[in-house]
């Protein structure tokens, strides 16, 4: 059935395409409403009439046949126009609008029906797709030059292909899925339902999600201002992937005086998470609390500060836990009038990991500071310094610094170079050049903030 409908639609489209005369005729018939055809969605289907031969001199019958055909076409066009008008009048209020010149006519007509959606531009054959989720794919290519024996990134890799499916579930919830395809294998990076219509100002999520620990961990790799994760996240939050948890998250707005936004989030998650947490039994859970405050300092400048606290079993013994503390701050400057040309942001994060270990507790800390400055509409430059001890051995400390240059050909693709030096605890110093190319296809996602 489905393929048949679409092939009919195709036939109609082709039929229309093959008869430019019909289009021209129709346009000529509507000089008074220049806006109507373009403004009102898909063009009416034209009948498939056999093309008229004009090679031989026409006989009287042929002329008569032609005349009849023209009459027939004229009638069909009239019918179509009437239908179009009727459809507009009932569905769109006074959508036809006044043509220039009759500006002041002001016909009092009822306001359009509330809640009536604008006509979708999709063809009829796509209506079954109407409720499909928004789909997008983001490719993240990374090329690496230089040598590094400690952290051996491949010379060339499609580091991640992130596929997302996002849609409204029902009047109470929406769902978001982010599947992260490596060159081999797939991970569900996130997959959760958000209940957006809860009472008491609550916002709840259930599923698998990047934990709201700090400002960087909740972000996907492709929206980071660098091609790589900063050291404190890698060393203290369980590696490149960061802290991803499965469970429940509840966030509530905490009213503060003035126009200050503040939000408290509590997350209860399964006690296993990558290399970070390991539960010996089902009842061992991990917890995360995050509190953030955001304030507009001026029209162009704003500051966000967050505090995080995480706790979970580390699996070294049946009772040993790892506690995580985090402090993050982000300062942004973006004058609104020139917002697409000039902006700057500074961010920093401090993370401490306290790991109970039968061989000796480890208290390790790490931090990064980073700045980004927009040089022109499509050019950004940035710098980052970072330092972090190892979660399992606080005597080991890695350090790094990096310079960045990013070019955005459009909103949907990005080329970024990072010149980075990392000094590892084992004594190695590695100088590398990272070249990242990212590209997005599909639905236009919201820009992260």
């Amino acid at each position: 059935m489905k393929s048949r409908t679409s092939s009919t639609a195709m036939a109609i489209i082709f039929g229309f395409g093959l008869h430019p005369a019909v289009c021209a005729d129709e346009k000529a018939a509507q000089p008074s409403a220049p806006s109507a055809p373009q403004a009102q969605g898909s063009p009416p289907a034209a009948p498939s009439q056999p093309p008229v031969k004009v090679s031989a001199p026409p006989t009287a019958e042929e002329v008569e046949a032609l005349r009849r055909e023209i009459e027939e076409l004229r009638r069909q066009i009239q019918t179509l126009r009437d239908q179009l008008r009727a459809g507009l009048a009932s569905g769109q209020g006074m959508a036809l609008g006044a043509a220039p010149g009759e500006t002041a006519s002001a016909i009092p007509s009822p306001p359009p029906a509330p809640g009536l959606p604008a006509a979708p531009p999709a063809a009829a054959s796509q209506t079954s797709n109407y409720f499909n989720p928004s789909i997008s794919v983001i490719g993240n290519y990374l090329g690496v030059g230089g040598s590094n024996g400690t952290e051996n990134l491949p010379s060339s890799s499609l580091r991640e292909s992130e596929v997302s499916f996002q849609a409204i579930v029902d009047p109470y919830a929406r769902a978001d899925f982010f599947l992260s395809f490596g060159e081999e294998g797939v991970d569900v990076e996130e997959g959760f339902i958000s209940f957006t219509s809860l009472p008491a100002g609550l916002l709840a999520k259930v599923g698998r999600m990047r934990t709201a620990f700090g400002k960087i961990n909740p972000l996907h790799l492709h929206v980071l201002p660098w091609p790589d994760e900063p050291l404190p996240l890698v060393n203290l939050l369980g590696g490149e992937e960061g802290w991803i948890g499965t469970g429940l998250s509840v966030a509530v707005l905490v009213p503060l005086p003035g126009e200050v936004f503040s939000e408290a989030t509590l997350q209860v998650l399964r006690g296993d998470s990558g290399e970070l947490f390991a539960a010996t039994q089902r009842g061992d859970l991990a917890y995360n609390g995050h509190y953030r405050v955001f304030r507009d300092l001026s029209e162009a400048t704003n500051l966000e500060v967050g505090l995080s606290y995480g706790l979970g079993p580390n699996g070294l013994t049946s009772r040993s836990a790892t506690r995580l503390e985090g402090l993050d701050a982000t300062l942004r400057w973006k004058p609104l009038r020139t917002a697409t040309y000039r902006s700057a942001s500074f961010r920093g994060e401090l993370i401490r990991s306290r790991r109970e270990d039968p061989l000796g507790d480890q208290s390790a800390e790490g931090w990064f500071l980073s700045g980004e400055y927009q040089l022109a509409k499509r050019w950004f430059t940035g710098a980052r310094i970072e330092s972090s001890e190892h979660a399992d051995d606080a005597t080991q400390r890695d350090r790094g610094k990096a310079l960045l240059l990013t070019f955005w050909p459009s909103e949907f693709s990005q080329v970024r170079g990072e010149l980075r030096r990392r000094e590892y605890a084992d004594g190695e110093t590695a100088d590398e050049l990272l070249l990242q190319i990212q590209f997005a296809i599909g639905a236009h996602g919201a820009h992260p903030f």
Binding site: T103, A104, P111, P117, S197, L336, R337, A339, A446, H447
Partner: protein, 308 residues
């Protein structure tokens, strides 16, 4: 003891502050654009309190989803958006976090102002991003036609009456007054623009199809090679040639675009760069929807007269 007392006092204060007398409570209307806020003010009068998220001098395509907007949305009784995916870059996550189900799309407090308006440039063929930052639902700058402003005002009046039934008559009266004034103003604007019907212009971004159609202007080209793509040298040369051959006199530039390329083009061709404001609030004197057209049309006319 002391902290407990403080807490009790705080709680009492909070409780005192909470129950606002509903008879005096204004309907809180949040809009994305200042144009929509202005229309809501004109129709809502003193029964509503409006707040626009985007400033009139800001590019409405690129707005940061600041958490402070979540706070504003969480308190709104109604939300009016321009629609046609103009807000797609920032509004959906804000709405999800607003904890305010009554302003979600499809809920009674949500109004898509494009409903019923005359929308131009709806793609009639398959579009891809090779066309630049195209809007698959049509050009979202539709409020630059005052007749669309009339339709928006009617939609707003209907929505306000639905949200605040006791104000139905007030909204109807305000709407009638607005429409009367608009009709008068439209006559005045049409009169001022009439001598320039058929004038060819170049604009920076494709923000003006509705305005141009209303006043019979012909948009011959854009400084942007494609929507959202910054000027390129080859395209700039093409525009210079176009301006020379078509003898175009004005280059209209929205307030949030860099004037460098338009000025360069103007230098090479003798055309005039005119800052043209698509939204209320683009300049301090553009205080409302009427002032928007007053300003732009006067600026256009004097720019045209400046070069006889």
């Amino acid at each position: 003891m002391k902290p407990t007392k403080l807490a009790v006092a705080g709680l009492a204060l909070a409780l005192l502050g909470l129950p606002e007398s509903p008879a005096f409570a204004k309907l809180k209307v949040v809009t994305t654009l200042q144009d929509l806020a202005s229309l809501a003010d004109l129709v809502g009068g003193d029964r509503v309190e409006t707040l626009a998220l985007v400033k009139g001098y800001q590019d409405p395509h690129f707005v940061d989803a600041k958490p402070s907007f979540i706070l504003k949305l969480s308190r709104a009784d109604a939300l009016i958006v321009a629609g046609l995916e103009l807000e797609i870059g920032y509004l959906p996550p804000l709405l999800d976090q607003s904890r305010n189900a009554k302003i979600h799309p499809g809920s009674p407090g949500y109004l898509d102002a494009s409903t019923g308006c005359e929308i131009l440039n709806r793609p009639t063929q398959q579009v891809t991003r090779a066309f630049g930052d195209v809007h698959p639902y049509g050009n979202p700058h539709y409020w630059t036609d005052p007749e669309n402003g009339r339709i928006i005002a009617r939609s707003i009046a209907a929505k306000l009456a639905e949200r605040d039934p006791s104000g139905r008559e007030a909204y109807a009266a305000n709407l009638a007054a607005f429409e009367g004034r608009l009709t008068e103003k439209e006559r005045e604007w049409a009169g001022k623009m009439a001598p320039y019907a058929g004038t060819k212009i170049v604009t920076f971004h494709d923000s003006w199809p509705n305005f141009a159609r209303r006043y019979g202007l012909i948009i011959a080209g854009h400084v942007e090679p494609k929507p959202g793509i910054p000027p390129s040298p080859t395209h700039t040369l093409e525009i210079i040639n176009l301006i020379m051959t078509e003898k175009i006199r004005l280059i209209l530039v929205e307030p949030y675009f860099d004037l460098k390329t338009p000025k360069f083009i103007a230098e090479k061709t003798g055309a005039t760069v005119l800052s043209f404001y698509p939204s209320v609030g683009g300049l301090p004197e553009i205080k409302d929807y009427f002032a928007l057209f007053d300003y732009d049309i006067d600026a256009f006319v004097s720019a045209m007269k400046g070069k006889p």
